[in-house]
């Protein structure tokens, strides 16, 4: 009993020491002096939570029962660590870039942030790990009872009571150091450093017992080896299937166990830690297993028949009277148990609170993330409640299972359970085609096989599964026997369950993935995970049409806390170059924010919360472009180029046309200048010569004088008309013309124009009109409009080359407006000239050279001043000019 009191005292001092170390580490990290906490050594030591009480005590028992087989439990993890380049490197990188908080978060995040998957994984993990936690409690209480001594009986030592105290202490530690920072992605320095200390203690304890056994009791290495060969497990009895399967199983469990994922991936700070741990952690494992066989052999030799081989680590030193060594050994086992329970509980609590409690709480809030109130406190509360719940669950499992079963058995059952995550994990990391449906099918399939073939039978016949199921199979189907699925009788139960569950799990994953079609988000995440080394950059962009910075700020404050949120937003605003504290809700910022939140509440919840604010968590076309192969992007780019080049070609053609027109105009202008000089010169010459005759010639008759003067007068008139036209056009073009608006009758206007032209020109043009249509009152500048009519009629007189020239004048009703069409029966204007007939100086078909080519230009200018238009329409045997009268001025006839 004295030993027991010493033991309790030492344990309390040890626990106080752990609390102090954890506090010191947290303080040092808070002051920014925690860089040593991130050293690869601490990381490597924290991985040692793989070695639980099951491996501390149980490995020796295992060796005593099955010889060398115990070592497979260490070989698998050693291979995984040494082969870090294949898988761990990628896993850790994904964990960091995606801010993964747990195994459930990893699988949910990979398969489209599906909360269903997260819940399934969480439930499976809780079912798989709770017995394991119970096992740790049992190992502590059992080892304490050894010190109590058999002579005191059951009354002297209350195992259940001490189990309760241990559970309480563990819960307290986990609550204190596990929920200090809400962000699960931040390092739990206190926890990690305490685990590292415990790792050293358990290694030293086991090595000390081993050294004592080999050199103290065995008398040296050679003698110990001889003793090993002479013992009852002296020859190698290798169960081949178990040797192979357990190596794979332990490797798989090393990756999948929630607590291992927590220290391997979540607590990882940089990849250098992993590089060094890749060879340093196998050293730890090797040292932990180095003395297992000697201790087991010594225990079998020294201790009486029937003593529990699981406790040889304690009972051998005790039997030799080395109580100090026994207490050190107890502390080693205590460390193994407590560190495992702390981290496993922390990992499970994160999963439960993020994937079960928070989604339920958010959905009961109705308005979701936008309601007021502090989510932060809810998350912390949820996590604390989860911690208590899980430790409580472990305690009750221990309480009601009653202990007793061989320690190693529960450990292996738990391993096979969590190994079911492996296909979904590896499939998600290496195969882009793995889908949510496939992952769900695989997990459920593997989990059911595990429950039916390993978990339920482990309680024995007629406890949870009736004996008839063992003998004849489920529902009497002989191929559904738990230890001989599909007729594979004779296999070791653990190997049988492991092989079948993993095989069916993988098969379901592959078939389910091949047959289903992933959502866009799944495809994006799949590409992100599988190609994490190619593009660790952006995932998919939020389209912040709805989200305002204020809303985001409020939500972030409620999850991260006011100070952290403010810092985050300020830093982002600085980066964006925005004044003040609120950055623009750019897609990049939303993405970063989602990752930050994901570290606190898990990817699925964070995605949903941002989705509520940013509006529509749908994936846009741009996102799909990112998923699509690069070729699609190149295609799109070349399409854009093509469109641009077509546009350029169009512009070039327009430029070319404009240039042609300009050139033609320039040629016309030159021709006209020549023409007009000639036009001006001819009358001037005759005026000069006749005026010289009048001046110099004496004796002219009166008739001659009159004739010459008339000629001079006629030429002067011609010059004046030409200059008038030019002046008219220049006035019109410069917009200096003043309009004289009055009311008149269209018919009368046409009459006047025809009379004017007939008075001045040749006769012979047959003008046809429909006077009835022409009785229309119009309000416009009648003189100007008349000028247009006169021009058009004169043109027809001049240029109509038909044998019987004819001009048809029609009034056309163009909806609201009126138009007057002048159609003659002359030779149509050639196609090439049509574009320039309304230009200045353009003269087509000018036989006598009397025109200056200004008539139609003047017409067009006048009509545009009046608000109307004039256009040319080719007809089959003539030309048609249409004068579109301005709309407001044309009024219906009375």
């Amino acid at each position: 009993m004295a030993t027991l009191n010493v033991l309790v005292g030492v344990s309390l001092i040890y626990v106080a020491f752990l609390f102090a170390v954890a506090f010191a580490a947290e303080r040092s990290a808070a002051r920014g002096r925690g860089s040593w906490l991130r050293s690869p050594l601490v990381y490597t030591l924290s991985l040692s939570i793989y070695c639980t009480a099951w491996t501390f005590y149980g490995a020796v028992g295992y060796a005593a029962r099955s010889g060398l087989e115990f070592v497979t439990i260490y070989l698998g993890p050693s291979l995984v660590m040494i082969g870090w380049w294949w898988g761990l490197r990628k896993l850790v990188r994904i964990g960091r870039t995606q801010r993964i908080t747990s195994v459930a978060d990893l699988i949910s995040s990979r398969y489209g942030k599906s909360n269903v998957l997260a819940i399934v994984v969480t439930v499976m993990a809780v079912i798989g790990v709770t017995p394991y936690i119970a096992l740790q409690l049992q190992s502590v209480t059992t080892s304490i009872s050894i010190f109590a001594g058999p002579s005191h009986g059951e009354d002297a030592f209350n195992q259940i009571g001490s189990g309760l105290w241990v559970a309480f202490g563990l819960a307290l530690f986990t609550l204190l150091f596990g929920t200090r920072s809400l962000n699960a992605n931040e390092r739990h320095y206190g926890v990690v450093i305490a685990i590292a200390c415990e790792a050293i203690v358990k290694l030293i304890a086991l090595l000390a017992v081993g050294v004592f056994v080999v050199w103290g009791l065995g008398g040296g290495v050679q003698e110990t080896l001889a003793r090993i060969d002479n013992s009852e497990i002296g020859t190698l009895q290798l169960d081949r299937s178990r040797w192979m399967a357990l190596t794979f199983l332990s490797g798989a469990a090393f990756l999948c166990l929630p607590r291992m994922f927590q220290v391997l991936v979540v607590e990882n700070d940089n990849e250098r830690q992993l590089h060094i741990a890749s060879w340093a952690f196998p050293i730890y494992l090797m040292l932990m297993s180095l003395f297992v066989v000697p201790i087991a052999v010594m225990g079998l030799d020294l201790l009486p028949e029937g003593s529990n081989p699981d406790l040889f680590v304690l009972t051998v030193p005790l039997a030799e009277g080395r109580e100090g060594l026994a207490i050190l050994s107890f502390l080693g086992g205590f460390s193994s148990a407590t560190s495992m329970v702390i981290v496993a509980t922390l990992a499970l609590a994160t999963m439960v609170s993020n994937h079960v409690v928070m989604p339920i709480w958010l959905s009961t809030q109705g308005e979701g993330a936008t309601v007021s109130g502090d989510v932060r406190s809810v998350v912390i509360l949820a996590r604390r409640a989860s911690i208590l719940g899980i430790i409580g669950l472990g305690f009750f499992y221990y309480r009601f299972s009653g202990g007793g079963a061989a320690l190693a058995a529960i450990g292996l059952i738990s391993f096979v359970g969590v190994a079911q995550f492996l296909p979904a994990m590896l499939g998600g990391m290496f195969w882009r085609g793995a889908t949510r449906v496939g992952a769900l099918a695989g997990l459920l399939c593997g989990f059911s096989v595990w429950v039916f073939c390993l978990l339920l039978p482990s309680f024995g016949p007629d406890v949870l599964l009736s004996a008839s199921v063992f003998d004849r199979g489920l529902w009497g189907l002989s191929w559904l026997r738990p230890h001989a699925l599909f007729g594979t009788a004779g296999m070791d139960p653990t190997v049988h369950a492991f092989v079948w569950s993993i095989t069916l799990n993988t098969a379901a994953l592959v078939v389910g993935s091949l047959m289903s079609f992933p959502t866009p988000l799944e495809r994006l995440q799949g590409a992100q995970f599988a190609n994490v080394f190619d593009r660790s950059g952006e995932t998919r962009a939020w389209h912040s049409s709805v989200a305002t910075s204020e809303d985001l700020m409020i939500m972030t404050q409620r999850i991260l806390g006011a100070d952290e949120a403010l810092q985050l937003f300020r830093a982002e605003a600085r980066e964006q170059g925005v004044d003040g504290e609120l950055p623009d809700p750019s897609p990049g910022f939303l993405l970063r924010l989602e990752r930050e939140l994901a570290a606190s509440v898990g990817a699925a919840t964070a995605h949903a919360m941002i989705g509520q604010l940013a509006g529509g968590s749908n994936v846009s076309v741009e996102d799909l472009m990112a998923v699509a192969d690069e070729s699609a992007q190149i295609l799109e780019y070349s399409n854009r180029l093509e469109a641009k080049s077509a546009e350029l070609a169009r512009t070039a053609r327009q430029l070319r046309e404009a240039n042609e027109k300009l050139t033609a105009l320039s040629v016309q202008k030159d021709a006209f200048l020549g023409q007009i000089s000639h036009e001006l010169r001819t009358p001037m010459t005759s005026i000069r010569s006749f005026s010289e005759i009048l001046r110099d010639t004496d004796g002219l008759t009166a008739a001659e004088k009159t004739r010459y003067a008339s000629i001079i007068h006629g030429e002067a008139i011609r010059l004046t008309r030409l200059l008038d036209d030019l002046l008219d056009l220049s006035v019109l073009e410069n917009g200096q013309v003043s309009l004289n608006i009055e009311q008149g009758n269209l018919s009368e206007l046409l009459d006047k124009a025809i009379v004017t032209t007939e008075a001045g020109g040749k006769k012979g043009l047959d003008i046809q009109r429909r006077r009835l249509d022409e009785v229309v009152q119009i309000t416009t500048d009648l003189d100007r409009l008349g000028q247009v009519f006169i021009n058009l009629i004169t043109n027809a007189q001049k240029y109509c080359d038909a044998a019987a020239p004819k001009l048809v004048i029609q009034v056309v009703d163009e909806g609201p407006n009126l138009a007057v069409a002048f159609t003659d029966n002359g030779t149509p204007i050639p196609q090439s000239a049509r574009t320039v007939i309304f230009e200045k100086f353009s003269r087509i078909n000018d036989k006598d050279g009397s025109g200056a080519g200004l008539g139609l230009s003047i017409c067009r200018e006048i009509m545009s001043r009046l608000g109307g238009d004039i256009s040319y329409h080719p007809v089959s045997d003539g030309n048609c000019f249409v004068v579109h009268l301005p709309p407001a001025e044309a009024m219906a006839a009375q």
Partner: protein, 96 residues
């Protein structure tokens, strides 16, 4: 416009050695697995020519391989870490 830079077929001596070191790192777990699975070929039933292996032999076999794997892993890591800046750069925390 989109030029894809094709990596050249031949590497300079330094990067060539680096790649082969990485290859060795990749091969290591495969070699370890094969060696540790080798006891599967050991006899189960004792016969006159081939006696059963003793437990001590098996223990020494497993631990020697273990030691060699760790040594090889550590040596390769030191070689990679010292030789090139590449793994070091990768080792830097690159949080966004």
């Amino acid at each position: 416009m989109t030029e894809t830079v094709r990596p050249s077929v031949f590497l300079e001596r330094r990067s060539y050695r680096l790649r082969r070191l990485m290859d060795a790192l990749r091969v290591l777990p495969v070699a370890g697995l094969m060696l540790w699975m080798f006891p599967l070929f050991w006899p189960i039933e004792a016969s006159e020519d081939v006696p059963l292996r003793s437990l001590s032999e098996a223990v020494i076999y497993v631990f020697v391989i273990w030691f060699l794997l760790i040594a090889a892993g550590a040596i390769l890591w030191f070689a990679l870490d010292g030789r090139s800046a590449v793994p070091r750069a990768r080792a830097e925390p690159d949080d966004d």
